[in-house]
C-alpha cells in the first residue's frame, strides 16, 4: 500500500513539473531542456536552507521558488532576443553546467554523496514521514499548481502565449509586448517548478545530483509532448504513463540498468512515432476532454459599421505623415528619402514594380525595421522608432503579405487576442479580480464575433484557423487587424492570391472601413483593385516615390506603365 501511495506521490510531483514545462513548451512554444536542472536548483535550495540554516518548512518552499524563478528569468535573458534552436542550445548547455556543478562543487552540494538528513516538514506539530502522511499535502499542492496553470493557460494571458507560439511577428503586430510575456511565462514556469522541487527534497529527505540529469529534462519534455501540449489534462496523463510504465516493467525482473534501458527505448520510440503520426499528443489541445467548450454563436444584431467606427472625434490634418525615411540593405536603397502622408478616412495605395520597397515602407512605418533617417508622426504625435507593438497601441497596425494567422488557434481566438487592454492579460487582475476578467472576456468575445460578422466569417468562429481557405484567412486577418482598434490600417496585398469572388468582398470591406473613419493604406499588385478601392496612390520605384495622384491618373501615365510592366529599356 505504502509503495503504491509512493508511486502516486511521484506521479503528482512529476505532474507539477509537467504543468511548469507545459506552460513554456505547450502554450508559449518555448523549449526548455533545463527543467531537470531547475528542479535540482530548487531542491538544493530547499534542502540546504532547511538542514544547514534551520529554515522551517513552508519558508523553504518560498526560498526554492525564489531561486528557480530568478534563475529561469535570468537564463532567458538571451532567449528574449533569440528563440527556436538558440533556446534549445542555451537550455541544454545550462542543464549540463548545473549538473556538472552539482557533482563537482562539493563544498556546497557534497557531490555525488548528496545531501541527506533533510528535515521532514511538521504540520500541526507532527512530522510528515511516510508517503501516506505526505499524500494530502502533495495532492493539495498539485491541485493548486493545476489550478494556477489552468487559470494562466486558458485566460487572455494564455491566449497571447499561444499567439506567441504560433507566430511571434504577428503577435507584435497585434500590439502585444512579446518580451513581457516571455519573461513572465519563464518566471511563472520557474516558480511552479520551484514548488515541486522543495516538496521533493522534503519528501525524499535525501537528494543527489542523479535526480537532476539531462535524462530528467528529456523525460519531462517527452512527458509533456506525449501527454499533449497546451492541455494540462494531457500532462497528468503523461505523468501517469511515465511513472506507471517503469513500475510495470519491474515485472521483467531484470537488472535495474536493463529495466531503465527498456523504459528509455519505449519512451524514445514513442516520441519518434508520435511526432510522425500524432504530434498533438494523447490529449490534443482542442480536445473536448478537460475543458469547457461553449458553442460559438454570432450575436443576432450584426451590422458592420457599428463595430468598426472609430471612437472619439477625429483631429484635423492627415492621420499619418512620414518624412525622409531611409533604409539600406547592403548596397540597395530600399527606401530613399521617402515621404508620404495618409489622409484621414481615405484609402491610399502604394503601387510599383516588385522590389520597389513597398513592404519595406510598411516595415519602417510600423517599427519592424528601424528607419535610418526621417520621422513619422501619427495624429501629430511622433511615433518614430517605436517598437512594433507600441506603434499598434498608438494606433498604427498592419497585416502581412503571407497572412500569418495564429494557425493552431480558433478563428475566434485569433480575433479576440488582438483586442487591446484586456484585464485578463495581466496576472494581478487574473488572480485577484476574476469577476472583472470574466466580464471583460464576455464583452470581448461578443466584440470579436462582431468583427467576424463584419467580414462574414462568424460561422467559422469555432474552427481552427489553419484549416481555413486562403481567402478566408485573409478575411480573418482583416478582422484581427480591426480588433486592434488602430486608426491607421496598413494592408499588405489584401487581395492577392485570392479567388476573384473574394476580391470584390475584400475591397468592399476596405471601403467600409474608410467610410467608418479609419485611415487605410494598402500595397497591391492588382491595379484594377487599386483603381476600384483607392482615393489616392503613390507610385514607388527603387525605394523612392516617383509619382502621386489619383489611381486613374497614374494608370494613364505611359512612363509609369513602362516601369511597372518592364516594357521599357531600363
Amino acid at each position: 500500500m505504502e509503495f503504491w501511495l509512493h508511486v502516486l506521490n511521484w506521479i503528482l510531483l512529476l505532474s507539477i513539473l509537467g504543468v511548469s514545462l507545459n506552460l513554456l513548451l505547450g502554450y508559449a512554444g518555448l523549449v526548455s531542456m533545463a527543467h531537470g536542472a531547475l528542479f535540482g536548483i530548487g531542491a538544493y535550495a530547499a534542502a540546504l536552507t532547511a538542514r544547514d540554516l534551520g529554515v522551517p518548512f513552508p519558508l523553504t518552499v518560498v526560498i526554492a521558488v525564489a531561486f528557480t524563478t530568478a534563475v529561469a528569468a535570468a537564463v532567458t535573458l538571451p532567449a528574449l532576443r533569440v528563440h527556436g534552436e538558440y533556446l534549445i542550445l542555451l537550455t541544454l548547455a545550462f542543464q549540463m553546467v548545473v549538473y556538472g556543478l552539482m557533482l563537482s562543487w562539493t563544498d556546497l552540494t557534497e557531490g555525488r554523496t548528496g545531501v541527506s538528513g533533510i528535515p521532514r516538514p511538521a504540520i500541526a506539530g507532527s512530522a510528515l514521514t511516510t508517503p501516506t502522511q505526505f499524500l494530502p499535502l502533495i495532492a493539495l499542492v498539485t491541485a493548486l499548481a493545476f489550478a494556477v496553470g489552468w487559470r494562466i493557460g486558458e485566460s487572455p494571458f494564455g491566449r497571447v502565449l499561444k499567439a506567441l507560439r504560433d507566430d511571434e511577428r504577428a503577435t507584435l503586430a497585434i500590439g502585444k509586448s512579446v518580451l513581457r510575456y516571455k519573461v513572465a511565462v519563464f518566471a511563472i514556469s520557474g516558480a511552479v517548478a520551484g514548488v515541486a522541487s522543495a516538496l521533493f527534497a522534503h519528501y525524499q529527505a535525501f537528494i543527489n545530483p542523479f535526480s537532476f540529469t539531462l535524462d530528467r529534462s528529456i523525460f519531462l519534455v517527452a512527458l509533456v509532448v506525449l501527454g499533449g501540449t497546451a492541455n494540462l489534462l494531457g500532462t497528468f496523463v503523461g505523468a501517469v504513463l511515465f511513472v506507471g510504465l517503469p513500475e510495470v516493467l519491474r515485472f521483467l525482473e531484470a537488472r535495474q540498468d536493463i529495466v531503465d534501458a527498456v523504459r528509455n527505448l519505449i519512451f524514445g520510440g514513442l516520441l519518434v512515432l508520435f511526432m510522425r503520426f500524432r504530434p498533438e499528443g494523447l490529449v490534443p489541445e482542442h480536445s473536448r476532454l478537460g475543458r469547457r467548450r461553449r458553442p460559438v454563436t454570432a450575436p443576432p444584431d450584426v451590422t458592420g459599421a457599428a463595430v468598426i467606427a472609430r471612437s472619439g472625434p477625429a483631429p484635423d490634418g492627415p492621420a499619418l505623415v512620414a518624412r525622409g525615411l531611409a533604409k539600406r540593405f547592403g548596397g540597395i536603397r530600399a527606401a530613399d528619402d521617402l515621404s508620404l502622408s495618409l489622409s484621414r478616412g481615405k484609402v491610399t495605395a502604394l503601387v510599383g514594380p516588385n522590389g520597389a520597397g513597398k513592404t519595406t515602407v510598411f516595415n519602417l512605418l510600423t517599427g519592424f525595421l528601424p528607419t535610418e533617417a526621417g520621422a513619422i508622426s501619427l495624429d501629430g504625435r511622433d511615433v518614430t522608432g517605436l517598437a512594433p507593438w507600441r506603434a499598434v497601441r498608438a494606433g498604427l497596425a498592419r497585416t502581412f503579405q503571407d497572412v500569418r494567422l495564429f494557425e493552431r488557434m480558433t478563428v475566434l481566438d485569433n480575433v479576440m487576442v488582438a483586442i487591446p487592454d484586456q484585464p485578463g492579460e495581466r496576472l494581478g487582475p487574473l488572480f485577484l479580480a476574476p469577476g472583472r476578467v470574466a466580464r471583460a472576456e464576455r464583452e470581448n468575445r461578443e466584440r470579436a464575433l462582431r468583427y467576424l460578422a463584419f467580414v462574414g466569417l462568424a460561422h467559422r468562429a469555432g474552427d481552427v484557423a489553419g484549416a481555413l481557405a486562403f481567402g478566408e484567412q485573409k478575411l480573418v486577418a482583416l478582422a484581427r487587424l480591426l480588433a486592434t482598434e488602430a486608426d491607421v490600417l496598413l494592408l499588405d496585398e489584401p487581395a492577392s492570391g485570392v479567388d476573384p469572388q473574394w476580391v470584390a468582398r475584400i475591397l468592399d470591406l476596405i471601403r467600409q472601413c474608410a467610410r467608418a473613419g479609419r485611415t487605410v493604406c494598402l500595397v497591391e499588385h492588382n491595379l484594377e483593385a487599386v483603381t476600384v478601392v483607392a482615393d489616392h496612390a503613390y507610385f514607388m520605384e527603387a525605394g523612392r516615390i516617383v509619382a502621386e495622384g489619383t489611381p486613374e491618373a497614374l494608370m494613364a501615365d505611359a512612363r509609369l506603365g513602362e516601369i511597372y510592366f518592364g516594357t521599357g529599356r531600363r
Binding site: R81, G268, L271
Partner: protein, 293 residues
Amino acid sequence: MDADLGLAAQLAANGLIAGSLYALLGVSWGMIFATTRIFHFAHALTLAVATYAAVVVVDTARLGLPLGFVTAAAAGCLFGLLVEIAVYRPLRRANATQLNVFLASLGFLIAGESVLLIVFGPEARTLPGFPLEGIALGPVAFTTIEALWAAASWALVLALLAWLRLTRWGRAIRAVASNPELAQCVGVDPPRVFVLVFAVGSALAGIGGALIALRDTASPFMGVQPVLAAFIAVFLGGIGSIPGAIVGGVVLGLAENMGGLLLPGHWQGVIAFVVLFLVLVFRPSGLLGAAAR
C-alpha cells in the same frame, strides 16, 4: 611567475587539442544543421554507434586500428543516412515543425542509446592498439594520442573546407545552406544534398568518436557531451559558417581550459556556458556570422 607561464602554456595546449576535436565535430554537425535546419541531436548517437562499430572491429575481432577508423567512418556514414531517410524524411513529408523534428531526434537518441546499452552492456569499452607515449615540447606536455587528435582533426577539417569550396557537390551544399529555394531554381535538388550532408557529416562524427575512444572510453552515452560542445562551437562561430564552426570550436576549447587559470577546475563547464551566454546576448549571429539573421 615562470611556473604560471608554464601552466598557461600547458593549458593553452590542452585547449587547442580539445578545440581541434570540437572544431571537427562542430563542422560535422554544423554542416548538417546549416543545410537541413534540423537540430540533429541524434548526432550523439551516430558518434556512439560508429565508435562501437570500431570497438567491435578492433577490440573483439582484432582486425587492427586502421580498419577500426575506416569502420567508424563507414558506420557513421551509414547510420547518418539511416536517420535521415527513416526518421527525418518522413517527418518533412508530414510537414512537421522544427520543434517536432527536434523532439523526434531526441527520442531517437534515447531509444538508440538504450539499444546500445542492452546489446553491449553498460561497461565502458576501449579502443586499444595505439602506441601511447608522452611528448614534451618545452613547458608543454601531451601524449601521442592527443597529437593524433589535433593532426587528424585539422586534416579532416581542411579537407572538408577544400571539398566544399572546390567540388561541384560542395558548392551545391553551400548553395542549399544559403538559400534552398534559390538553389532549387538553379537545378540543385535539396533532398539529395540533405542525404549528402548527412553521409559526410556523420562519417566525420564517426571518426571523431573513434578518436575520443582512443584516449577515453566508449560508452552508450559517450556522444552527448562532445556533441553539445559541437553545438556550442557552431552557435559561437555563427550558423551556416564552416570557418565559424572551426573558430568556435577552438575558442570553446581554449576558454574551457584557460579558464582554469582564474577559477577552480569544477567551474570549467561554467566558463563555456558564460561564453555562449555572452555571445548569444551580444552577438546572436555568432563570431563569424552575418550581422543580420
